[in-house]
């Protein structure tokens, strides 16, 4: 599975690098968007099969909002530590990590706010986050249990990594992941702008 996943990304990179097709260049974002909608729709069908999952979640109540909060704290803490070992500044590193895997948005925003280079790093870092989440979720569940499976994907726990959370950690965690991903999607653009505007 992992080889197939890496293979399709690499094949895409190669095709994109070599292609002269104007159609692909003009319509890629739109097509990607539709495929994403289809993916989420099918995961929804999977989750809707077991309605009892929803009743279990109700007992969590407002506590469910702590899930995205721990993802934010953990992500920024990790970025803080790694900022001493990379060429990007503390502020840039924190802002890049605050993309929470949402590579398209964070890349465009940071390209505008900082530079093309930081935009490109944000694109790759958040793309890697998504891919790392896909690869690591099975191991995370084995080592740390079900709940942390909603964390590595960050904002993508509501779309691309959602089927993996659901498969390895169960439908209940998948729903928590969806809500966490949704919250992070709302928070991310504001947090990135805030971090860049701070004088640190």
């Amino acid at each position: 599975m992992i080889i197939i996943i890496i293979g399709s990304v690499l094949l895409g990179i190669l095709t994109g690098h070599l292609t002269e097709s104007v159609f692909i260049q003009n319509n890629l974002d739109g097509i990607n968007e539709y495929v994403l909608l289809l993916l989420v729709f099918v995961v929804g069908i999977d989750l809707g099969k077991n309605v009892e999952t929803w009743y279990k979640l109700r007992k969590m109540g407002i506590k469910i909002l702590l899930a995205p909060l721990v993802v934010i704290i953990g992500t920024l803490a990790g970025a803080f530590i790694v900022s001493f070992f990379v060429e990007t500044s503390l502020q840039e590193t924190l802002a890049i990590s605050a993309g929470f895997g949402w590579y398209s948005m964070s890349a465009v925003l940071l390209k505008k706010l900082v530079s093309t280079e930081i935009g490109a790093i944000a694109f790759l870092a958040n793309l890697f986050r998504e891919l790392l989440a896909i690869f690591l979720i099975p191991f995370i569940v084995k080592i740390f249990g079900n709940f942390p499976a909603m964390a590595p994907g960050g904002a993508t726990s509501m779309d691309t990594t959602l089927p993996f959370v659901s498969k390895y950690a169960g439908k209940e965690i998948a729903l928590i992941g969806f809500i966490s991903g949704l919250t992070l999607t709302f928070v991310s653009p504001f947090l990135i702008s805030l971090l860049i505007s701070l004088n640190i």
């Binding site: 399709s8 990304v9 895409g12 095709t15 994109g16 070599l18 292609t19 097509i31 990607n32 495929v35 909608l37 993916l39 989420v40 729709f41 099918v42 995961v43 929804g44 069908i45 999977d46 989750l47 809707g48 099969k49 702590l66 899930a67 721990v70 704290i73 953990g74 992500t75 920024l76 803490a77 990790g78 970025a79 530590i81 790694v82 070992f85 990379v86 060429e87 990590s97 929470f100 093309t116 490109a120 790093i121 694109f123 790759l124 870092a125 793309l127 890697f128 986050r129 790392l132 740390f144 249990g145 079900n146 709940f147 942390p148 909603m150 964390a151 498969k167 928590i176 949704l182 999607t185």
Partner: protein, 91 residues
């Protein structure tokens, strides 16, 4: 983003009311994998088309990888630490 929420909710609803044919569930894994591979291919296309990224991919990639690995590790550890209290998981 509203589109994503709508697609998700729509999927849950049509599944919960039971209009999805039974054999669709049996092949759900394969369907999901197929869609995901198309999505990842599109993601690769996105990178491949951007000369700024492909021209400099190893340099930028190293920094990017370290940041993403630290983000993943940090978020998993904090989620693990507070998980028992938030979700009450028995493990």
């Amino acid at each position: 983003m509203w589109g994503i929420i709508a697609a998700f909710v729509l999927g849950i609803i049509i599944s919960a009311v039971g209009v999805v044919p039974y054999h669709f569930y049996r092949h759900l894994d394969k369907v999901l994998t197929a869609i995901l591979l198309v999505l990842l291919f599109g993601m690769g296309l996105n990178i491949g088309l951007d000369e700024n990224i492909t021209g400099n991919i190893f340099n930028l990639g190293k920094t990017a990888f370290l940041i993403s690995a630290a983000s993943v590790l940090g978020s998993v550890l904090v989620a693990w630490y507070f998980g028992k209290w938030i979700y009450g998981e028995k493990k």
